[in-house]
């Protein structure tokens, strides 16, 4: 993790960290804080606890998101101080909606100049968000008129960081449960870091290729970091730490207590393994999950001999 962040995340970069409640790569956010990155534009649909922590770490100067909040468990103290009182300094905030952000990633992943969506007519959002603009469809409707529609610009982060359950050494990444916007965010980026619970043998990936949500060609670094999502969860590996979510409002409400938390848990740990050790066995045991294995599918194998298969190919040429 230290190496991946040092190599791919630089001051002033546009950094996307995705994971919709599930599989949030919190440990990568912590490492960015430890390495004291500055002036990042952070792109994250649901700005949550890891964003509050990165704000407190002084890493973020611009935030692009469609939701700010500690899910349903309370408030983000640092974010609210920055937005409501410019305390300790102002934060540039770009507010979108969920589908607006999704469309921005879709445009970014496909290297399109914009992406249309049926939202925003009548909303005040376009007034404060210059990225929402109207264009006329080039194609007439049945009644001969040309529909106006809002479009949003692409996001092409310098680096996208996501979490998944497993990948092979070359970066073929398998994910299950809530897959959110992770694949689009990776394809939209110039560089992508995938953090996984475990790096597995090639055979494990190849036995179920449809589960590969992100292929190796889109991945620059694979980081094995078990438990990297705490306090969020990783389907099949660890559960969500709801107690931690509920406690965050209190921790972040006061800058002094937040700063003490940062000193103890982030600056006071050298890496995520130390952070987890500090959480302690009782907490980790509480977050452990049981098994619910997927069923199996039959991908099939060709029964005729391999030799005759190659003969067929020759005949067709």
């Amino acid at each position: 993790m230290q190496e991946a962040i040092a190599r791919y995340v630089h001051d002033g970069n546009v950094v996307a960290i995705e994971g919709f409640t599930h599989a949030i790569p919190t440990a990568a956010g912590h490492e960015i804080i430890r390495q004291r990155r500055k002036d990042l534009t952070l792109v994250r649909m649901t700005a949550d606890i890891v964003v509050d922590q990165m704000l407190a770490g002084g890493c973020i100067s611009t935030l692009v998101s469609s939701f700010v909040g500690n899910s349903s468990a309370g408030s983000l103290g640092e974010l609210r101080r920055r937005v409501e009182r410019a305390d300790p300094e102002p934060l540039e905030y770009q507010e979108y909606s969920h589908y607006g952000m999704i469309c921005r990633y879709l445009a970014g992943a496909q290297r399109l100049p914009f992406y249309p969506l049926r939202s925003y007519f009548g909303s005040d959002l376009p007034r404060i968000q210059p990225g929402m603009r109207k264009v006329a469809s080039p194609f007439p409707d049945e009644d001969g008129t040309y529909e106006e529609i809002y479009v949003v610009p692409p996001i092409n982060p310098d680096v996208t960081i996501v979490h998944a359950q497993r990948a092979d050494r070359s970066g073929n990444t398998q994910m299950w449960g809530l897959t959110g916007i992770q694949a689009e965010a990776v394809f939209a980026a110039k560089r992508a870091i995938v953090v996984v619970e475990e790096i597995v043998d090639d055979d494990v990936i190849r036995a179920d290729p449809n589960r590969t949500v992100i292929p190796a060609l889109a991945v620059d670094a694979v980081v094995e970091c078990p438990g990297a999502t705490h306090p969020s969860f990783s389907q099949g590996y660890s559960d969500r730490d709801n107690d931690f979510y509920r406690s965050w409002s209190g921790i972040s409400a006061d800058p002094v207590s937040l700063s003490a938390w940062m000193d103890e848990w982030i600056y006071g740990t050298t890496d995520h393994a130390e952070y987890l050790a500090k959480l302690g066995e009782a907490t980790l045991a509480r977050l452990r999950v049981g098994q619910a294995l997927s069923g199996q599918v039959n991908y099939g194998t060709r029964l005729e001999a391999a030799d005759s298969a190659s003969d067929n190919t020759k005949d067709q040429q």
């Binding site: 409640t21 599930h22 409501e84 999704i102 007519f121 009548g122 005040d124 916007i181």
Partner: protein, 259 residues
């Protein structure tokens, strides 16, 4: 404030849940978040709307959770679910594709046309209170056939003549800007005092039901505009023993959301 809830020993959440669940009769697909909407949908599927399916904003369709979920993305919603969709599929194909009958939304402010504010109190550039923002609410408002709103607080600070900021507009504001309208916008607002209803484009919210023990004047005093009252105003029937039993013993026995 005295209320029906206190009088008959039930919580405001229980009352709002029961009222919301009854309003779901005849609907099929509901797009919702966690908390009160989850309870209402669960109760409705056992009572007024057996065919109801909840589509969660996290991408889960046809959830069969072993435990009551604590978030829209609780792991127990995934295990055993009928489908788990990515964000482009959920928002692009399911919601914008027109498959949702009822979207459930909350808001900090609502006006008489069912326009909603969930972004800020005060000016957007320098807000007094920064709220969570849209999330998917703009899309839910624009693309669901109708929208139900549950407002825990019914007072003149939440039911306002003029929104501080319009996050999620109803069809009238969309039309005024030249947009095309697909759904009816907010059709029902369920509060601690009663139910406000509007039929669709060009109609404003009217008081159509009050809970027992609540007067029309009380509702009007707590509404920031000159609230119209339906000619055939109803009194909400009390939660039945069966509805309360289902909620308390089957749906949320650990009282995660039942406050």
């Amino acid at each position: 404030m005295t209320s029906l809830a206190a009088d008959i020993g039930i919580s405001a959440t229980e009352l709002l849940t029961v009222v919301a669940s009854r309003e779901l009769a005849g609907r099929h697909t509901v797009f919702a978040g966690i908390g009160l909407p989850t309870l209402a949908v669960s109760l409705a599927s056992l009572t007024a709307a057996p065919d109801l399916e909840i589509v969660y904003e996290s991408g889960v369709c046809g959830a069969h959770p072993s435990h009551l979920p604590e978030t829209i993305a609780d792991a127990v919603l995934i295990t055993g679910a009928e489908a788990v969709l990515s964000m482009p599929v959920l928002f692009g194909y399911v919601l914008q594709g027109g498959h949702i009958d009822v979207g459930f939304l909350g808001a900090a402010q609502i006006d008489r046309w069912g326009n909603l504010n969930s972004s800020v109190i005060g000016p957007w550039e320098k807000p007094k209170v920064r709220l969570p923002g849209s999330g998917g609410a703009v899309e839910v408002a624009a693309n669901s056939k109708e929208v139900f709103v549950v407002m825990r607080r019914h007072d003149s600070r939440t039911f306002v003549e003029q929104l501080d900021f319009c996050t999620s507009p109803g069809p009238d504001r969309a039309l005024a800007e030249g947009g095309r309208v697909r759904g009816a916008g907010v059709t029902k607002v369920i509060t601690e005092l009663g139910i406000l209803t509007r039929s669709g484009v060009h109609d404003e919210l009217k008081l159509t039901a009050v809970h027992e023990g609540i007067s029309v004047d009380q509702v009007r005093e707590n509404t920031g505009w000159d609230l119209k009252v339906s000619d055939d105003l109803r009194v909400t029937p009390q939660p039945t023993a069966d509805e309360l039993r289902l909620l308390r013993t089957e749906i949320d026995p650990r009282r995660v959301y039942l406050r």
